[in-house]
Amino acid sequence: MIRLYHLYPDLMDLYGDYANLLMLSRALTRAGYENEIVKRSLIDRFDLSDAGFVYIGSGRESRQKRAMAHLLRNKETFRDAVRRGVPVLLTGNAMEMIGKSVTDKDGVRHEGLGLASFESVEGTKRLVSDEIVRWGEEKLVGFINKSSEIRGVEKPLFHVEFGLGNAGEEKEEGYAEGNLFATHLIGPILVKNPAFLLKMTSLAAKAEIKADAIRDKYADEAFAITLSELSRRAETETKSNI
């Protein structure tokens, strides 16, 4: 039984984030792996020692602070899971939680988990963009809707071909270290990107899953259309920012 932990599904629920877990769970089932989604939030006891996968989605700035403060108090079990190589996926501003700090728009600094050395600073404007990113040989698509910039990322996850990066004009997006994947892409990323779903499924299954085993015809077609439409937009728009 593979346990897929969805942390703070009630606080961090802004962009249909739960769909990522639904997709992963279905893919694992199709590939023949028994699994269950386990939800944990503020009032629950946190123990990730039996986790096969950990996920946190996007939330409003105020709720991200609550979740982050709570996660900080449960840092041990989270960090141990990361160290054991449990695949962890953080999307949207959940990414910011593992950095050193998040400074809110009033200038108050909130301590992060410190698993990575980057720092996030929220502003008063929303930064919104469609995205095409390169991930190894693959291209992925998605969307960013955030109010922060992240600086000091040592190991980015994606290279941005179209859209916003971690900060300013940067062409790097997200953070990756071992099996920890963090990105500001929302979307939900595992619905939109069959290749990324395949990777997460393989990591959770601890086996090389074949694309055909989990193929969803409609998800594939959606990805192809999105990539071609966004590529066309990227060609016509000289600069990437909307």
């Binding site: 009630d10 606080l11 629920d13 802004l14 962009y15 249909g16 984030d17 739960y18 769909a19 639904l22 997709m23 009032i43 409003r60 700035e61 105020s62 709720r63 609550r66 929303r126 919104v128 469609d130 995205e131 698509v141 998605g142 969307f143 809707n145 109010s147 929302i186 979307g187 939900p188 619905v191 939109k192 969803d216 409609y218 998800a219 594939d220 077609e221 959606a222 990805f223 259309i225 999105t226 439409e229 966004l230 066309r232 937009r233």
Partner: protein
């Protein structure tokens, strides 16, 4: 001199605009260029009513305008799409004398949540109505709390607030001030404290952040809330829905003047709230309840949100929703799902944005498509550029796969609908996509 120049510019612009058949906000734009403080120099009418919120602004404003006009008042109000400062300036200057006095009795403004603070830095509304705050075009607006912060500045200078007592976030505008009147829905039969939507924006208290509870919910986070930690709770409304009869298409509003029964053109709890808001605002502007009820009785929506059509030997209704606004979709779904006859449902998401292709479809996962699972919804067709992701979304609704078809082409979708023996069709889509379908059918 600048003031006169600005007024003349606005009037000339409006005249030319009318000649070429274009109503735009350009006249206001030029007037503000000529005199940035022009709006502060205009003598406004005794009632300046602002209406803002995520949903229902336009139809609410239309209703208020109708009631006040019926009551013999001269009402100046802005039409959809012109609710930024330039549009408001066009409206005000077009309705004022050369000496700068507005000729109307009431200035009624539909105000975009994000722009209210700019508009009302120029002049103060006497009444500010906030309908509701929920997830609406997150790409443009950010999330509800983000909108709250933006709107708060615009609401602040208003003389009196007319607020939704059932929306915990909206009610927060009353904190630390006086002169607020509330509207809300009473504890109607069948309402429970449970949330039956895909997501729950009423989980946490907007004041202290702790877990909130409900005596009952009307939909999603809208209901009789209370926070056991800080004591924040629903205020007693002066205007209350006492009965909503969806089958008969009527509702009852109670105010200090008594109870009034009002019919609904498109029966749903959402339109019941819109009517309630209009009732409250008109009542606060001094119109007697009986007159309001009479006006609302013959109010028919001029917005064309529901369009009847025929497709071959099929009869259909197009229910206009708003992309990136899950609750507007939920409203349309409720109409289709509550039809007792066998129906086919077509959902079209072709262009999320009119400007360019965008891949922001996270809002699909906020819509209660699950409610289309009832067996009399015999066929579901998903169409438009985003048919693939719609299909993935539907694959998690529990609706049997054989009932669902997904095709990119809207023409092909129309052909499919024609081939079914189900004779009644509901088409659910956004106003930006609706003509792509209406061009294929006979409008009635």
């Amino acid at each position: 001199m600048r003031k006169l120049l600005a007024i003349l510019l606005a009037k000339a612009g409006r005249f030319v605009g009318k000649l070429v058949g274009k109503g735009s906000s350009k006249p206001g734009y030029y007037a503000l260029k000529a005199d940035p403080k022009i709006l502060q120099k205009i003598k406004l009418p005794p009632y300046v009513i602002a209406v803002s919120g995520s949903n229902g602004k336009t139809s609410t404003v239309e209703m208020i305008a109708k009631i006040l006009t019926d009551a013999g008042l001269r009402v100046a109000y802005n039409k959809e799409g012109s609710n930024q400062i330039e549009g408001v300036a066009t409206l005000i200057l077009g309705e004022c004398t050369l000496s700068g006095r507005m000729k109307s009795d009431v200035l009624l403004i539909e105000s975009d949540e994000r722009f209210a603070r700019y508009t009302f830095s120029h002049f103060k509304p006497t009444h500010f109505v906030v309908t509701n705050l929920y997830r609406d075009q997150l790409t443009r607006n950010g999330h509800p709390e983000w909108v709250f912060d933006a709107l708060a500045e615009g609401v602040k200078p208003a003389g009196k607030l007319i607020l939704n007592a059932d929306d915990p976030l909206v009610s927060l505008f009353a904190e630390g001030r006086e002169n607020t009147v509330w509207f809300g829905c009473g504890k109607l039969e069948g309402l429970s404290p449970e949330n039956d939507s895909v997501y729950d924006d009423g989980r946490f208290c907007p004041r202290c952040g702790e877990r909130m509870r409900y005596d009952y919910r009307v939909y999603n986070h809208v209901g009789a809330y209370f926070c056991p930690v800080c004591g924040y709770r629903r205020q007693k409304p002066a205007y209350e829905l006492r009965k909503i009869d969806l089958a008969a298409g009527s509702l009852t509003v109670a105010s200090r003047e008594g109870s009034f029964e009002i019919p609904m053109e498109n029966p749903s709890v959402y339109s019941a709230y819109n009517i309630l808001v209009a009732f409250a605002a008109a009542s606060e502007a001094g119109v007697p309840g009986e007159k309001i009820a009479r006006s609302l009785r013959d109010f028919a929506s001029r917005m064309g949100r529901i369009v009847s059509f025929t497709l071959g030997d099929h009869e259909g209704k197009l229910l206009t929703s708003k992309h990136e606004n899950s609750i507007s979709y939920d409203q349309s779904i409720a109409v289709a799902a509550s039809d007792p006859e066998d129906v086919s449902v077509l959902v079209i998401v072709d262009a999320v944005s009119r400007k360019y292709f965008t891949s922001e479809t996270s809002w699909f996962w906020d819509i209660d498509f699950e409610k289309l699972a009832s067996p009399h919804v015999r066929h579901i067709v998903l169409a438009g550029t985003h048919y693939g992701e719609l299909m993935v979304r539907f694959s998690f609704t529990g609706i049997p796969e054989e009932r669902i078809a997904a095709v990119r082409s809207i023409e092909e979708a129309a052909e499919l609908l024609k081939s079914y023996d189900t004779k009644k069709i509901y088409t659910i889509t956004c106003f930006s996509d609706k003509d792509k379908f209406l061009n294929l059918v006979e409008r009635k």
